[in-house]
Symmetry: C2
Subunit: 215 residues, 2 copies
DNA sequence: TACAAACTGGTACAAGCGTACCAATCTGGG
DNA sequence: CCCAGATTGGTACGCTTGTACCAGTTTGTA
């Protein structure tokens, strides 16, 4: 049931997952019904209950897929931008105390990578947070939520390392939390200063890392 | 319709709002139906559509009420705790550069004030965030969301002032965002270290305020 | 005390929901 | 080639939902 034996079945399950993720992004939680998903995926209604035990299971699986994509996209956007700034940056571990990318540039890369840059992406991120919050009520979703948090934190750590900053675990945690807070604010309200705020705040934080925690 | 002319009407509207807020906290968005609210409030079904034009309007009004209560409760918890530490603290503006409450103590007051300390409160805060996110989809909710953000920021600024810290606007923004991020994490997942993390992070941040932004 | 307005409460409706069911069809391994 | 098991697709059931409706009752005021 989880992994269909036949090729066409696998494609259908996949299409359902994609349709679920799309609907989740477009209209949030409430818009994801068996009927809507089936129609979007171009399969009959009954296929949804055939490939997923229940609506909740479908949503959980779609959430997982969205997380995968989001993490990958964020990482890619960041490294692409950073490497444009410092093309010779080696992929190996950063040397302690050597901030190779200026704080402001790194902060700009952070903002560009984390904040949504179009309406579709904004809605995707909105959906991710909705699912995340839902985990506060539904224990079945909690492991996924925790996994998302962990991967975000690991990504933050990695992005810092890539840009040449060596940070304590507490700093990573702080930066991640602040970035989350700012990102949510940017996603929900649309205030004009979201990018500027994040750049300012992150670069301030990175500035301090050198004087207080660098070699 | 918004403000009933008769006494009993006002009481009913109030009871509906309370019931709505309760249900919102207990089961989130999905659990708030006309029927559930009416039953909880002890009024007939039709009263819900009599006092509120629609379900959305009822929910928005309940959201507003929850925000009021949350802001008030958080502020009260913080000042109560701080004044226990520094009973002579005057309510006037803090003198520049003088950090009167040790960073660690202030951080502990922050954590105690912001993080939920029982299950009911956890669910209330969860509901607040759910509503906030919903504002990302529903423009009608956006002014309320913005108002919440603004009041939270003002509260952060005020709490810093009370404890004797003078911070730039950027610092207030950063601290607020980080606190939001940490609070959401604590509310959704229940990791054991939520309080410790917040104390550590906030006190680090406050430590830095003295050396870099004080007098 | 009369009367318009505010309010009550019971009921009805159409729509959408998750899920179950099942006869018909397809498909891959023996 | 054949058949057990995988898959299909159409339909149906029981339930909940938001909202509309309206004949009655209560209320504040003139």
């Amino acid at each position: 049931m989880r992994q269909p034996a036949q090729e066409r079945g696998r494609r259908r399950r996949d299409a359902l997952l994609d349709a679920g993720a799309e609907l989740l992004a477009e209209g949030g939680f409430a818009k994801v019904s068996h009927r809507a998903v089936a129609e979007r995926a171009g399969v009959p209604l009954a296929a949804t209950t055939y490939y997923f035990r229940s609506r909740d299971e479908l949503i959980a699986a779609a959430f997982e897929r969205m997380v995968d994509r989001d993490i990958a996209a964020t990482g890619a956007r960041f490294t692409e931008r950073i490497r444009r700034l410092a093309p010779d940056l080696p992929p190996g571990p950063a040397t302690a105390g050597t901030a190779r990318v200026p704080a402001r540039a790194a902060a700009e890369a952070f903002a560009a990578a984390l904040l949504p840059h179009d309406e579709a992406e904004r809605r995707r991120q909105l959906a991710l947070w909705e699912l995340y919050l839902q985990a506060g009520r539904d224990p079945a979703l909690r492991p996924l939520a925790r996994a998302w948090t962990d991967r975000c934190r690991a990504l933050t750590r990695e992005l810092l390392r890539i840009s040449g900053y060596q940070a304590t675990e507490a700093f990573v945690h702080m930066l991640g939390a602040a970035a989350d807070g700012l990102a949510i604010e940017a996603i929900v309200e649309d205030r004009p200063n979201a990018v500027r705020s994040m750049v300012e705040i992150v670069s301030h934080a990175l500035d301090r890392i050198r004087t207080t925690e660098g070699a």
